[in-house]
């Protein structure tokens, strides 16, 4: 009998109940919250559901040494986590993004690229603020990239510059991307006048297939020569786009933007979520990162809108740009462009800004990859 009791005691020590801490439970609740938001509100469900469930997986209290945790060498989760740690999931996602992105809006109005550049100020604003809060430059760079509003880029850069902060940075980036409509709308309304919101932009010209094929090649050569450290992201983004536009690699493009990106998104979400173990995630630094992440989105949106307003001072007639597309420079494809469309139609139901906003939106993807390359070059 005593033997049975002893064994039951032994078993008890291996259960989650015996090893649970309030931090684990808090993280599990956050995971459930993420899943609830994704299902109820429909905010970034493809990311928040895997991340939320990953948080639950990563925070199941367990007896250490069973070789099952995400940070234990050789475990299943650890093997899957290598794609995040070594940084090869994000470029694969970029391959899919390239294969699903239509750069026509950008090619037809290349001047809109500059809005994408202006919105990257959010990255560097957050970098400066992070330094002020006492982070080291490499950590500050990794935190700053949240302002790029690009999850894969944030994971890629933080895995290189500050792996310890990656969980908080990734969760922060994806959370704020899900909250783009909530964050951006009031800023856009506060910074624009009613007259400006009613500006109608001319319909973009038709883009030829030749231009679409040339774009990924020239775009890649130019950006990669300027910032070679952005090679994994830029290379995959433009390669994916070439697969889409070449017209002769349809099957490859469909795989890249379909099954491949789905598989990688599932794995990246799940493992990033699982990496947020309470002991590594619930720290003062994580709170600072969340605050800085929010500020980076605010700065990026503000500068994007103000940049268009400033630019409009030098433009005349139908060359003027509706400042409501300024927010779209912060990547977060296509949510921020959708915000431009929705807010624009609130004031003029006939004013469709989506097509125009997609220009700075995809420029933001290129801009954030370039910015990540610069930060990696200087701080990596």
């Amino acid at each position: 009998m005593s033997n049975i009791i002893e064994n039951l005691k032994q078993f008890w020590f291996f259960t989650g109940f015996a090893n649970a801490t309030w931090q684990n439970l808090a993280m599990i609740l956050i995971g459930i919250l993420f899943i609830t938001i994704a299902i109820k509100k429909g905010w970034e469900p493809l990311l928040l559901v895997p991340i939320g469930f990953g948080m639950i997986i990563g925070n199941i209290p367990m007896f250490p040494g069973l070789n099952i945790g995400v940070y234990e060498d050789g475990s299943v989760l650890n093997t899957l986590y290598q794609g995040v740690k070594q940084g090869w999931y994000p470029p694969l996602i970029f391959l899919g993004i390239g294969a699903m992105t239509d750069f026509s809006a950008l090619i037809s109005q290349p001047r809109l690229l500059l809005i994408g550049a202006a919105a990257q100020t959010g990255i560097f604003g957050a970098y400066l603020l992070a330094l002020l809060l006492g982070f080291d430059p490499n950590q500050a760079g990794a935190i700053g990239i949240i302002g790029g509003a690009d999850g894969p880029t944030a994971i890629f850069l933080s895995s290189k510059l500050a792996p310890d902060l990656m969980g908080a940075i990734a969760v922060s980036a994806y959370s704020y991307m899900a909250l783009v409509p909530v964050i951006q709308r009031p800023i856009m309304l506060a910074l624009t006048t009613k007259k400006e919101r009613l500006i109608k932009m001319p319909v973009p010209r038709t883009v030829s297939q030749r231009e679409k094929i040339v774009f990924p090649i020239v775009g890649f050569l130019l950006t990669a020569f300027i910032v070679p450290s952005g090679l994994p992201l830029l290379g995959m983004l433009f390669f994916g786009n070439l697969l889409k536009e070449s017209g002769v690699t349809r099957r490859l493009a469909e795989t890249a933007r379909g099954p491949l990106i789905d598989v990688v998104t599932t794995l990246i979400g799940l493992t990033v979520g699982a990496s947020t173990q309470a002991d590594k995630f619930l720290t003062g630094n994580s709170l600072k990162i969340f605050l800085l992440g929010l500020l980076s989105f605010v700065i990026a949106t503000t500068v994007g809108v103000l940049f268009v307003k400033f630019w409009n001072l030098f433009l005349k007639g139908d060359r003027k740009i509706n400042p409501l597309i300024g927010n779209a420079g912060v990547s977060a494809v296509p949510d921020s462009a959708r915000v431009s469309e929705v807010v624009g139609r609130e004031f003029d139901p006939g004013n469709h800004l989506l097509m125009h906003a997609m220009g700075p939106n995809v420029a933001g993807v290129i801009g954030s990859a370039v910015a990540a390359g610069i930060l990696l070059g200087f701080l990596g």
């Binding site: 690229l113 038709t206 040339v214 290129i366 610069i374 930060l375």
Partner: protein, 305 residues
């Protein structure tokens, strides 16, 4: 003009290709050489011998099994590094030490010759002919001092040769206490303003140049713009050959949803005049939701039996 563009494109491609380098034996380097060892490192047999340090300059793993070491140009195959030894490989920027004991039976990392002052040491590729690297040993090299190749420059991919009074067998010959880039930035740019300024300028420049290039390409394309064909003049009730062919093709064969696309295209051709989407060569067909498992067409046989 068209030919010059093609030649320019090929030239750019070749130029880019030149900068690509594979991780192979040519990335090896003789990092350090010591001839007379009286008070330095002891080998696995408790002996003090001269030694040769090989260094992998690349950022990938390099296998050196099959290479040769020699101090005689007329016999470059003097010591053959065993190909079968799995430990005969070097990780990125790592080094390995060979003891010049004169007795190769002691193991893979023991050469069958002893070094002499005034000689030249050769590292030879596995073909036995190609000299990968060579080091001249000064005739007056003092005991316990080595000839070392120190990495210099920003990339640390160039090396200067000098005599080293403090030999470092198996260790990196450069500055082992070098600071990380982040530490350097923390000292030089504590508030981050310089980095921010440079980064913003680079992002703007990159996208500005891209904007100019595509502005130019767009203007160029406007000149070559493909004009939409004018609607064909067809008498009422008359169908041209293309329309007839498309409709009959659609109705005569089982194509699933492509039937509707073909009919739509044919009608568009007939009524609107054949202005097709210039952006894509793909007909967009909205797929039927579900698996179509109950679709009658799934039960049809192609050939009646």
């Amino acid at each position: 003009m068209r030919h010059s563009r093609i030649i320019l494109s090929i030239a750019i491609t070749l130029l880019c290709g030149l900068s690509l380098g594979a991780q192979n034996m040519s990335d090896l380097l003789i990092g350090e050489v010591l001839v007379e060892n009286t008070c330095g490192i002891v080998d696995g047999y408790g002996q003090r011998n001269g030694w040769i340090e090989l260094f992998n300059t690349s950022n990938g793993t390099v296998k050196f099994g099959g290479c040769y070491l020699s101090d005689d140009k007329s016999n470059l195959k003097k010591y053959h590094i065993p190909t079968s030894d799995r430990s005969a490989q070097l990780g990125p920027r790592q080094s390995v030490v060979f003891y010049t004991s004169g007795n190769s039976l002691q193991g893979t990392f023991y050469t069958n010759f002893k070094l002499r002052n005034g000689s030249t040491l050769y590292l030879v590729s596995n073909d036995g002919r190609t000299i990968i690297d060579q080091v001249e040993i000064p005739a007056d090299l003092p005991a316990d001092q080595s000839v070392v190749r120190i990495p210099v420059g920003v990339k640390e991919m160039e090396f200067k040769t000098q005599v080293n009074p403090n030999p470092t067998p198996g260790s990196y010959n450069g500055n082992v206490d070098a600071k990380t880039k982040s530490q350097v930035m923390k000292e030089q740019d504590p508030h981050g303003l310089v980095l921010t300024l440079i980064a913003v300028m680079v992002v703007f420049s990159a996208l500005l140049i891209l904007s100019f290039i595509f502005g130019w390409i767009g203007n160029y394309n406007k000149r070559d713009k493909v004009k939409a064909p004018k609607p064909k003049k067809v008498k009422k009730g008359e169908m041209d050959d293309e329309v007839v062919a498309a409709i009959s093709l659609a109705l005569s064969r089982e194509f699933g949803s492509e039937v509707y696309a073909a009919i739509a295209l044919a009608l568009d051709d007939y009524l609107v005049g054949g202005i097709h989407d210039l952006e894509s060569m793909i007909i967009t067909i909205k797929p039927t939701p579900g698996s179509e498992w109950a679709d009658k067409t799934q039960n049809f046989r192609q050939l009646p039996r």
